[in-house]
């Protein structure tokens, strides 16, 4: 035998396939998004609107039975410009991952911002969903391709977020 080098490590990739049980509130949300409609649930104690909806309020544990329809417009709360590349990444860099507070909701969702220069994106910027073609709609938030600026004046982001915080359950 010629030279043998000691084995210091081996690569053993791992993979986990799993089934996902969304539960009642998320199932409703996903059926609704398949029809192109965003919905939220209302906390009976604080009046806060959760999107995606939940069956129970995180703050008070009360059942949330009231469902409201939400617009596909909103404002950017805060965001990250992702430039890093890593193994098995789904998006091409750079991309902007943003907390978007939909009009009428009190909980921001995470989505992409596109159709503008990255350096123009800012907290308070008004945005609107850009949907895939209806024929492609499925039970997924990916029915929305991304959000794009509406060109409206910026929303007062600090005031809006403070207002949500002040509605907190005592």
């Amino acid at each position: 035998m010629s030279e043998t080098k000691p084995v210091k490590y081996v690569n053993t990739p791992i993979c986990v396939d799993f089934d996902y049980t969304p539960g009642k509130a998320t199932s409703n949300f996903l059926r609704s998004i398949k029809k192109g409609q965003l919905i939220g649930s209302v906390c009976p104690d604080t009046g806060k609107v959760y999107c995606p909806p939940r069956s129970y309020s995180v703050e008070t544990a009360s059942p949330m039975t009231e469902i409201v329809e939400l617009a596909d417009t909103g404002m950017v709360y805060t965001f990250c410009i992702v430039n890093i590349k890593f193994y098995d990444q789904a998006q091409e860099v750079p991309y902007v991952s943003a907390y978007i507070l939909l009009d009428g909701a009190d909980l921001p969702i995470m989505h992409l911002i596109q159709e503008c220069e990255v350096e123009d994106i800012r907290p308070g910027m008004r945005v609107k969903a850009v949907w895939r073609d209806e024929s492609e709609w499925t039970e997924s938030m990916e029915n929305i391709k991304y959000f794009k600026p509406t060109g409206e004046p910026d929303a007062p982001v600090g005031e809006i977020m403070e207002n949500i915080r002040s509605k907190s359950h005592a």
Partner: protein, 387 residues
């Protein structure tokens, strides 16, 4: 608190990017042997081991503690694992201390560790959430929006994040166990480093490390057994909150400030900046220094960046409240052990064992860890005198 609890042994490995000379268990044992030696004890003296590490995907090895019992001398004795994401290194120590103060055991070994070279942590922390667009991009991608919001709210200038990175990396040059030893570090180098997760630069980001940190905790009657004077625990506290909740303040989380308030009450702390001699605080991205200065009550909300700016937290600038004399998380980050290192470095300081990074005459120090989406907090106060 019931019985008093003291730290009489501390051991850590030299944190580094790849430990190819040892496996996970070998690396853990190295830190434990050092802690036992410091405590003048052997494996046989221990009543139990409490071990902590962060998500298994970070090493790609499921529940490694299942096969570590033998190497940790725990055959026939209790061994268990704590898991609270990035704060686990702190909560593991606290769980161990409760076994002493609760009168269950007298001599405990606590150990936090991670061998991050064995997987890819950015991949591991970027799960694809079902029915959602795949946007996650590691810890930096998660925390960057919180930092952007802090900057918006406080009006802090850009150089603050850079300054913290330089300060902690310079501190690390005093610590032989730190992963990053970068003699050349300066503001320009950090400023010119790639903007990975805007507003977080590469230079403002913690490394991924292989490392382990262990401590021997004992009841009062064993407190004088170690090779140096003990560090006494003056208070411990943990708090949690949901990741996603309308109105949650990700920048200044209530679970963090509530945790600090309860902790300070235990030790009679009313003015943390004045009463602590130093603090080891979990700052994985440099902007978390001013954010946690505020969250932990070292100053009023919106003022944290001013303390950083005036050098209050820097040993090299003679600051009155040095933060992260060890070089902090920005210089060493074996995730599951990172909180343990914070707690241990606070204990080293009050024992007078901190070498070139020693704060002169340190009597009271804070150790802090956080994890998840800024939602799990673990903190302790250690002192050179009995509580």
């Amino acid at each position: 608190m019931g019985d008093r609890c003291a730290v009489i042994g501390i051991g850590q490995t030299k944190h580094t990017d790849k430990r190819l000379d040892v496996n996970q268990t070998g690396m853990i044992r190295e830190s434990c042997n050092r802690a036992l030696k410091d405590a003048n004890m052997t494996w046989k003296d221990l009543d139990a081991v409490v071990i902590g590490h962060a998500p298994d995907t970070i090493e790609g090895c499921m529940t490694p503690e299942l096969y570590q019992a033998e190497a940790l001398g725990m055959v026939g004795k209790p061994l268990f694992r704590v898991h609270t994401a990035g704060s686990v290194g702190g909560s593991t120590v606290i769980v161990g201390s409760k076994l002493i103060t609760g009168g269950i055991h007298e001599k405990i070994l606590v150990v936090g560790w991670q061998k991050m070279s064995e997987s890819q942590s950015t991949w591991a922390l970027s799960p694809v959430i079902p029915f959602q667009p795949a946007l996650m991009a590691g810890a930096g991608g998660f925390f960057a929006p919180h930092i952007r919001e802090y900057i918006r709210r406080s009006g802090a200038p850009e150089h603050i994040g850079i300054k913290v990175a330089v300060k902690d990396r310079k501190h690390a040059l005093r610590n032989p166990f730190a992963h990053i030893h970068q003699e050349s570090v300066c503001e320009e180098e950090i400023r010119n480093s790639p903007m990975l997760w805007d507003p977080i630069r590469f230079g403002e980001t913690c490394p991924s490390s292989d490392g382990s940190c262990a401590m021997v905790l004992v009841s009062e009657k064993h407190a004088d057994r170690g090779s140096a004077k003990p560090a006494w625990i003056h208070g411990t506290e943990m708090r949690s909150e949901p990741t996603i909740m309308p109105g949650r303040d990700e920048v200044n989380p209530r679970s963090g400030s509530d945790c600090a308030k309860s902790l300070y009450k235990q030790a009679g702390i009313t003015n943390p900046r004045k009463q602590f001699d130093m603090a080891e605080v979990y700052v994985p991205f440099s902007w978390f220094e001013p954010m946690w200065l505020e969250n932990l009550g070292f100053c009023d909300e919106g003022e944290g960046w001013k303390l950083t700016d005036e050098g209050a937290t820097s040993m090299d600038e003679g600051g009155d409240i040095p933060w992260n004399c060890s070089g902090g998380v920005l210089s060493s980050n074996p995730i599951g052990g990172t909180g343990t290192v914070r707690f241990a470095e606070a204990a080293l300081q009050v024992r007078g064992q901190a070498g070139d990074r020693q704060v002169d005459g340190a009597k009271l120090a804070l150790g802090h860890a956080y994890g998840g989406g800024s939602q799990f907090f673990a903190m302790w106060i250690v002192g050179s005198e009995k509580p």
